[in-house]
Subunit: 393 residues, 4 copies
């Protein structure tokens, strides 16, 4: 399991959480693959997972752990107990290429800036070198690459992304590419499954979808569905099923972690807001004519505690206008980490089963699933259960 | 369409709403059977429906309409336009038998008190007489009986309800029965489909389920799922699907209509609270060990505007405790009326198709479905869509 | 009582509300000057008030009334009963000068566009002409001018506003001025008290404050405190009094009326957002270092129903972080109209008592009081009560 | 400072919080007496305070601290740093008399049960013995007794409480008395100031008020105003000041600590609910005719995190009905502890200044102030500021 964004909050929660699960210090709450009917599949056991990763900043994992302890998310005893495991993890981390528009951000590892400035083919070779060494050093059979880095600056669609041949040519010419696309190409072209838990492009561009198909490598994404959007895609189908007319759906998101800080820049927020808003249109239908708004505000004091307040104005029989309002107060990393673990195990399973291309049964995990049809959470979940059933046959 | 509780808010909304739909003054918002894929079924057209009903009180339907106008639910122009139809409806109403424990309540029609005091067989004969006359007078082929009266006082289970023979014997002995059970027996034994939209017993007792099976009469209930419980059964499956552990679900309901006034009496509220609470246990599973509370408070100033505030405390990965809270502000009658219309049309369709017994495909309409397995709204709705598909084959 | 914005929702509520109060059809709910201890002051009786006004659009007052009936704010019987009064009011309305940046907006009265394009001195003369005629025609002794028009586009501070002499010179030169400033000059220079219930400049510029002082004319403003800001200035002092540290105060306002439509333009919203945000800093102190946000979103389906959701994140003893969140759902015009009535009576009283300049005892009515020191609602209200006591001595 | 309820959450927060303040590990957030203008009074310095106390249970203070760490209220480093101070505190604790109705509760110190069964005069002598020893051992000049034990079972008013002579006679006869009354008598009769932070009777009965007057000993209470009631007494005056008519105020409180467990028993909850409800009637006036409800539910998973959801339904001008709803999520002990510290310092100051009887300037700290006139928080706070000003003269 190779984490891109290895020093971030999600990775830190994964590291200590996995330790806690293995030591029996934690119950597998929030972990879908440890519940029925998933438990009956022949998934990779939690004991067998080895964690490594790339990052572009140089702060210590233990400093991220300290922040999560202060925020009341990680238990201090768990962090103490996992100290040796954290040190071993730290030793397995490597600097990753910095995305172009992020040049100059604080706390950077100089090697990341340097690597990010080199031609794409060189970056790809460096990533593959890191992964080969990780596998050799740790006796690993299969690496699943997971993208959990901060949201990238948004990019205009490029012609060279339209098909694989054009993309290869662009790489040959040395045209700069978004870091997430570099990672995705490096993983898929070397036969390593990819999970993109962020709104960044990664394997969503047509050229890389084609690559995954041709090489028969499973991949999935994009943008983990952990909070407000999860509730939205659970509630919106109710209005549709009851014939109630949604007039307005206002969603106000507040968050205070590094993700929030990055999203203050409209360039970085654009993709996320788009994903959060598209789901409604997908569920309520193209003719729904509702008014909607998705706001994301950086509120530093909240830290990793994401709070969303949504207001839904709808019409029922006789023209009566009514409202539903909800407030979701969740811990972002603690919600994301177990889903990442689930997706890694599902990607591993797909690879073992010889399935290539988009893992469309994972749509329920994402705000902007690469495939899977519906944004309706319950439809998506039914599809996941159907996949599980098909594996058991 | 025969409404038991014909002078109440739901019936009043139905009367004027149906008028508005027929005249093109209203859009069919909130009406499931007018949307896809239901529109393709050969349902009874709205134009062909005739409304009659029983009630135990003697206030005028137009006074109920006045209250709904003042509450901002019915449009004054719609009420003016439907005056002639309301007068015709008023002329078709008949006094129904008063339920024993309600003797002495205000505004009663003396004939209802008198009828309720007579032996059950006499009451049944009176009901059948009213329905025969209604059908004859209006050239009606099939009457669907709908129970929308105020919630009855709760009863201890009786041995005589265990099977049809014992029940018939009890009727022969003249043992008093709850009014809803009298209505249900009268309807089912005369081949008339029954919809029970309230928490009262009606056709839920084993003896009457057996009667419906034997006579091949469709029936459904109980307790329309219109507000807080609807949202609950939409949200709770999300926690289960994500492996999140619900610690507490507190639901505080406030309402100010006649229903709320009746529910102030714990005897009347018991069944409703039980239904609202059972759904959670049904969805989260018997081992969920969560703490839950359902409160219903009478807040007169709210009138027909039902407001519910729910607080859900749950645990995710790493033991992190989070919360979701929602406030639902809905107009009770405007939410219920179109569902009643849908159920009448579905019951009519079942009768036309020769289906008898519990209409298990209608589970999504009820807090305490007589059959249908799950309380999960989306599973229930999928079942309804499967039924529609089976009709189209 | 001369209403600038005479065809808007506030004016319409005032017209029918005053009719209802006089006829005993309404209780004086929300009207401060009809409660103790105000009732003992010698205020102008409601019976003696005559309404006239200016507007720039040409739609009928009765169409505004229709919208308010449909929104459940005005009672249909009240509108019917007040028809004659409404017609008389309509006959007393005159076209006012259009503010420069609003040229080209829909529904405009052509005479307003024309008047707004003329030199300021001409506009002032026209306004005075209208007021003189109004007073003569109706036998009125004293006119209070009330500014309740839509929020004006924000303006850069002008040097000519710094003192009265410069301003007079600018008028002489024919330099264009914001419409609210024209109205304020016309009123104050002709000895007519002015109430500015909007965020527009009006009498807030130094030159006009000086004018009011010199002529001894009472005036007050700006920006009526009716909803979210009212609650904010009631709650914020609690945090200060308890030594609790406010980390963040996020306020999300949704509204759907004409005001909301106008505020969609950032130019028009700027002043209002500034006023709503300043109050916090005023109460929590310059060192509070809290994070705050005021959002205003146009949600058409809400109509005149203004909904605000605020989230307050604060720290207590031991570094424990806690939260308070509130949702305010109020009817904008019904909240504003009685305050306007109160302010007109208070302005009239001040004029009778020979008080000139800013009415600093009215600070509790405004988001951005022209004077009065504190934004703390309870301090402001205590000041109003002290004024009343001083009048009774 | 002598804490009755010395092993509870408030006392534990006080112990470690005071340590943190003295060591400069904590800022004095939430502590009124450390802010302006209180800082200028000659109050007892935090450094000079010594803590001791009574309790009826025998669990260790460090186990209470562990719970508060797990709940995210106490910082683990603070607890480690305060270990020596906690051990010294533990050594100063003494068993207090158990209140009659609580016989048989879990975790009891056998000595408390025994002491509670003895005649009142013996209990009083034992308390005085403990206090004398505490003062002698620690070289203390003045002890302020603070009542922060769990809420007592409610009692019918007794004739013997009507005046001091009757009460002394009852003590002589050996008539059993509520534990809080025993403590209050013991404190006041020995010249020790008393702070009652709970809803229990303590010094509120007339006989003990008389005792405090006669001996010139300051005392205050009852029932600390820390959460929902604080917000209520801040918001309710706004409706009164604006002439808005409150129709309903529904307050739903959820809490999971020992206090919540005790309040599950209606006998224990009665006084608290009465206090929470009385404040509204006090502010809105006897004619307000509003509907109100105060619910308290025990939700174990919340622990010390108290969550309250209030819904206020009110009417404005034109009969328009609107709503305000708020959710308060606060940490009960962290809110209470600094107020207790403030009250101890204020009681000490009063004693130093020779003031006896009820400290009516402390009304803003209590849900049911023994004196002070108004429940309006801002009026109460203004009174406290006036007292401070009078001390400075």
């Amino acid at each position: 399991m190779w984490l891109v964004g290895a020093r971030g909050a999600i990775s830190t929660c994964l590291l200590y959480g996995l330790h806690g699960l293995r030591q029996g210090l934690l119950e597998p709450v929030g972990l879908v693959t440890e519940s029925e009917p998933f438990r009956d599949l022949s998934m990779v056991p939690l004991e067998n997972l080895v964690l490594g990763g790339h990052d572009v900043c140089d702060r210590d994992v233990s400093s991220a752990a300290g922040e999560l302890v202060r925020a009341g998310i990680l238990d201090v005893d768990l962090v103490t107990s996992g100290a040796a495991e954290a040190a071993a993890y730290e030793a397995r981390l490597r600097p990753g290429p910095l995305d172009g528009p992020d040049v100059g951000v604080a706390d950077l590892d100089a090697r990341s800036s340097e690597l990010g400035a080199r031609p794409p083919r060189d970056q790809i070779a460096a990533l593959n070198g890191d992964w080969d060494a990780f596998e050799k050093d740790n006796g690993i059979e299969r690496t699943v690459v997971v993208f959990v880095a901060s949201t990238e600056a948004v990019r205009e669609p490029q012609e060279e992304w339209a098909d694989l041949a054009s993309f290869e040519a662009a790489l040959d010419r040395g045209d700069p590419q978004p870091a997430s696309v570099i990672y995705a190409y490096a993983a898929l072209s070397s036969g390593r499954p990819l999970v993109n838990f962020t709104p960044s492009l990664a394997s969503s561009v047509p050229a890389l979808r084609q690559l995954a198909e041709e090489r028969g490598v499973p991949h999935c994404g994009a943008d983990g569905k952990t909070g407000e959007t999860l509730v939205k895609t659970v509630l919106a189908p109710m209005f549709a099923a009851r014939g109630l007319k949604v007039h307005a759906w206002q969603g106000y998101n507040m968050l205070g972690n590094r993700d929030g800080e990055v999203l203050r820049d409209p360039n970085h927020a654009a993709a996320k807001i788009q994903h959060k808003d598209d789901v409604l249109r997908g569920i309520l239908g193209p003719n729904s004519n509702h008014h909607s708004k998705v706001g994301i505000d950086y509120v530093p004091s909240l830290g990793d505690w994401k709070t969303a307040m949504d207001f839904i104005h709808f019409e029922g029989f006789l023209g009566a206008c009514m409202s539903l309002q909800f407030t979701w107060a969740g811990c972002d990393s603690a919600l994301a980490a177990p889903l990442v673990l689930d997706l890694v195990r599902l990607a591993h399973l797909s690879a073992e089963r010889g399935e290539g291309g988009v893992m469309d049964h994972t749509a329920c995990f994402f705000k902007a699933p690469l495939a899977g049809g519906s944004h309706d959470f319950h439809e998506q979940h039914a599809r996941l259960l159907a996949y599980v059933a098909s594996c058991q046959r």
